[in-house]
């Protein structure tokens, strides 16, 4: 195995193996949590072969090999850089989740509590209740005929009905004035 350092990376952090077509980054587990390393590695498995290792306590080694076989120094350097960026993104995302965990739990608890309260509210009337309900009772006065159906209100009147309506004092709708 012939490892070489990568331009722009400290020797202890990244090394490439041109024969194997791979690059290995050694990550400080104190800086980047394991979940962040998993997240970044998982994002890369569609384009790289990824292998994780723990060379020493407190560090994680990530070996990336391009699936298309890009093995020149520039390609490996680019790969290492993209992984390092993704690792930082994942670590930052992890930190945001940790900081907002209390808020997330609070919102979830309130949503669940609201759903539970609705479930505990009095139930709607059953079919038996509706069957025994007295609908004959006059609920309210309706002098303008608002509660009347269209057919009932505008049906063709017989001459007798028309004459009796003309004799009675008419109730005029406001828009007709």
């Amino acid at each position: 195995m012939s490892t070489q350092t990568l331009d722009g990376f400290p020797k202890s952090v990244a090394a490439s193996d041109l024969a194997d077509g791979s690059v290995t980054l050694t990550v400080d587990a104190g800086l980047y949590p394991l979940e962040a390393v998993y997240g970044a590695a998982y994002i890369f498995i569609d384009r790289c072969f990824v292998l994780l290792d723990r060379p020493a306590a407190g560090s994680i080694a990530v070996t990336l090999a391009d699936k298309k076989g890009a093995a020149d120094g520039d390609a490996l350097r680019r790969l290492a850089g993209e992984f390092a960026n993704e690792l930082l993104t994942q670590a930052w995302r992890q930190k945001i989740v940790e900081e907002n965990r209390v808020v997330l739990e609070l919102v979830t608890t309130q949503a669940l509590a609201g759903a539970t309260a609705r479930a505990a509210a009095p139930a709607e009337p059953s079919l038996d209740d509706l069957a025994s309900f007295d609908f004959t009772e006059e609920a309210f006065d309706d002098p303008l005929g608002i509660a009347m159906s269209w057919e009932e209100k505008y049906k063709k009147k017989t001459p007798v009905e028309a004459a009796s309506e003309a004799a009675a004092p008419a109730v005029v709708a406001p828009e007709a004035k």
């Binding site: 394991l34 979940e35 998993y38 997240g39 590695a41 998982y42 498995i45 072969f49 990824v50 292998l51 994780l52 290792d53 723990r54 994680i60 090999a65």
Partner: protein, 71 residues
């Protein structure tokens, strides 16, 4: 023969076993426990195939670790 070493703290045994089950028809595997590692030795008809299976096995085990909440 190619060897792949999966650290127990990074790859749960269930993830490695699951990956081995998927790839068992493509190569022959020998499994051994060596300290903190589960070591998989891969044999196939051609060296290129061994390398390919070894690399795909690593990806699959990582995928199971991440997706299955095994970590």
């Amino acid at each position: 023969m190619i060897e792949r070493r999966f650290h127990r703290e990074l790859y749960p045994p269930a993830a490695v076993d699951g990956a081995l089950k998927v790839f068992e028809r493509f190569a022959t595997f020998e499994l051994a426990d060596e300290g903190d590692y589960r070591v998989v030795r891969i044999s196939a008809k051609r060296p290129e195939r061994e390398l390919k299976v070894a690399r795909e096995l690593g990806n699959y085990a990582l995928g199971l670790t991440r997706q299955g909440g095994l970590s």
